[in-house]
């Protein structure tokens, strides 16, 4: 049987973008799952479980990332990662309305 595949697109919403701390949170959560996780910014595709590779994406506020998971717990992984990026936005500040929106 083929491995389940799950995919989603998320947008980086915190002001400072995917800098090292958020990237670490992402990798931390990704590593809780057994499935393979790849993240793409359209230009580069990297392993979602590697902090070095994730830091290479240099995703700023407003960047859209495609997350793809392959494996038995793919769905759970995608749900957790989407929650981190889009709902919790890494527990970081969002751009204030006064400043330019990204």
């Amino acid at each position: 049987m083929d491995k389940p595949v799950c995919e989603t697109e998320v947008e980086i919403k915190n002001t400072d973008g995917l800098h090292m701390r958020p990237a670490m949170q992402f990798v931390d959560i990704a590593n809780h799952f057994d499935c393979e996780i790849t993240v793409s910014n359209g230009e580069n595709s990297v392993e979602g479980k590697s902090i070095m590779q994730m830091s290479m994406l240099a995703a700023t506020c407003g960047t859209k990332l495609k997350i793809k998971a392959e494996g038995a717990d793919a769905k759970q992984a995608i749900d957790a990662l989407r929650e981190l990026v889009e709902e919790k936005h890494f527990d970081e500040p969002l751009p204030s309305n006064k400043k330019k929106k990204c």
Binding site: G17, M56, C61
Partner: protein, 157 residues
């Protein structure tokens, strides 16, 4: 963004004197200060800020490298320097291994994009085992400068 755009070669330290994390950070910030790259920023304040950031979460990414960094309002442009330790330094790295190459990055507070571009460049090369190995083997500033300039031209390095 290229290494040559933001690494200050005058502040590169091929063999760090300091043997611990905070000492290494102080040594590298001081080297940038000496090279005249801190501008109006206060050396002690920057050292404190980098150490504070490091305490929140280690920038020791594993594989013998650490990238201590901070965004600070007194810093006007993205600036970096490199220090090497042949004995290895405890940076509380992700893989718990000692760190041999330290890249210190200082960025302005109001330009997250530039900061991320510099990070992207640093990680792109640190990913490559060859690059990490060559960096660790470099014993003088000229070798480090040659390596970074070569890496700027050759994306596979």
């Amino acid at each position: 963004m290229k290494f040559a755009d933001f690494v200050c070669f005058d502040a590169v330290i091929p063999e760090l004197k300091a043997k611990d994390r905070d000492g290494v950070i102080a040594e590298l910030v001081s080297a940038l200060d000496k090279a005249g790259k801190l501008g109006k920023a206060n050396r002690q304040e920057i050292i404190k800020a980098v150490i504070k950031r490091e305490k929140e979460a280690s920038t020791g990414m594993g594989k013998g490298v650490a990238i201590p960094h901070v965004k600070h309002p007194a810093i006007k442009g993205v600036i970096a320097t490199i220090g090497q330790s042949s004995t290895g330094i405890d940076f509380s790295a992700l893989d718990k291994q000692p760190v041999y190459s330290v890249i210190l990055l200082l960025s302005p507070a109001d330009n997250p994009e530039k900061h991320l571009q510099a990070m992207e460049n640093i990680f792109k090369h640190l990913q490559q085992e060859k690059f990490r190995k060559f960096l660790r083997q470099s014993q003088i500033t000229e070798q480090i400068e040659d390596l970074l300039r070569e890496a700027d031209e050759d994306p596979s390095l």
